[in-house]
Amino acid sequence: MNQIVILGAGHGGFQLAASLRQNGFDGRVLLISDEPGLPYQRPPLSKEYLEGKIGPDLLLMRPEAFYRDHRIELIADERAVRIDPAAREVTLARGTRLGYHHLVLATGARNRAPPVPGLDLEGVCYLRSRAETDALQTQLAEAQTVVVIGAGFIGLEFAAVAAAKGKRVHIVEIADRVMGRVVAVETSGFFAAKHREAGVQFTFGMPAVAILGQSGRVRAVELRDGTRLAADLVLVSIGVAPNAELAAEAGLAIVNGVLVDDRLRTADPAISAIGDCAAFPSRHARIAPVRLESVQNAADHARCVADRLTGKDRPYASLPWFWSEQGALRLQIAGLTTEHDRTAIRGRIEDGSFSVFCYAGHTLLGIESINRPADHAIGRRLLAAGRQVSPAEAADESFDLRAAATSRAA
């Protein structure tokens, strides 16, 4: 195998290229990025970068010399428009055709847009790419009244930054609580209360039906019940959809993402998929396949595929983990908690430092830690090793979690 083509240069695509070289792969590595410039890190966009604490240089994954030194051929500001699995060839938008011995789809995901008029008004922003963040930063400097559509990680992280800058912030969420798709009720309740304390207002269970403007500029968001929320900036943060169209057109199976096996291979042995765009079986999930949107997932997928392509075949088994920083609040999640039916709280919610241990029956699925990083670090080891603690043990602060993570049989 001497030519590997990677479509997408986010966390997964970049890590794959880097890991291939680290593993001693000696062939060509072509990394296709649909954004201009060098690959960069996304997590700081909604935090330090948006706040202006770090500039574009420190956002980069690696400097330009890294790609030269490691013979990673970065083709930026370009995208694939067709995959021909029979010919093992990718066609790029500018017409170039690239043959491959192995193709890795690291195409990520894109912002979902609500079905409402007014999305093209000036002042309607998104927060996924660096370019979008630059535009948002410019708009935020001038804005006084901000409406955020969607109370997920991104919406809440942005709301915390905007509120800290003294903006009036109102979040509209179609579900009945914040981060409802990913965290326990207890965690949602705590975060909503803290955001309210910081001056953020919420409307739950209510979709936005229109974004209204004047002279091409956003002025308000209209809700289904007729309420109009004034806005000179609107952030649309209702989640993302996987970029799986190319794979579908190439005849690959799509199940909320590009379907892969436990080796992250598609049905075509010459094509793999990783990161946000891949739907894969996880031994840590109650449902299969799963599609996860996180840096950890993208980077660990990349390492697994790089290992396989350099002769160290192994099933993908990494424990999923996530984090979010919302103002002074630090949320860290180990494992996949969404299918839980009961919880145990370690620490006191009132103290602002606690962990929610999430169970399905007696099985510990995952741990949501709020301003309690030790539980997270130990919990990751515990869950990765397949060890269990009972709800009673979890809730007992005198119970030694560290010892349980290292010594107990599974």
Binding site: R62, R303, W323, P373
Partner: protein, 107 residues
């Protein structure tokens, strides 16, 4: 500018001039030093920028905060008394000449 030397597992050394305030992790990433992963980008969330500080220089580094102490519980390589997360080592003039050893693995 104060200097930091990174010593990798194979013994090779990289010395960087680092602006005061920039972290030992940020400088490594920006200059392409292998062996520091820094998956979370410097938020003290992931423990993949683990380094071992030369023992007699520990007192010259910023004091360890509780978050860092906690996340060091989750390093992929063994935690030792001189373990630090390099994202929490913001450069000061006193740190000039610092030597950090990179662990066997970060993930």
């Amino acid at each position: 500018m104060p200097r930091v030397t990174y010593v990798s597992q194979d013994g090779s050394e990289t010395t960087l001039d680092i602006a005061v305030g920039t972290s030992v992790m940020q400088a490594a990433a920006y200059n392409g030093v292998d062996g520091i992963v820094a998956e979370c980008g410097g938020s003290c969330m992931c423990a993949t920028c683990h380094v071992y500080v030369k023992e007699d220089q520990l007192a010259r580094t910023p004091p360890m905060q509780p978050d860092e102490d906690a996340m060091l519980e989750g390093t992929a390589s063994e935690r030792r008394p001189n373990s630090r997360l390099s994202c929490q080592l913001a450069m000061t003039p006193e740190m000039d000449g610092l030597v950090v050893y990179l662990p066997e693995t970060q993930v």
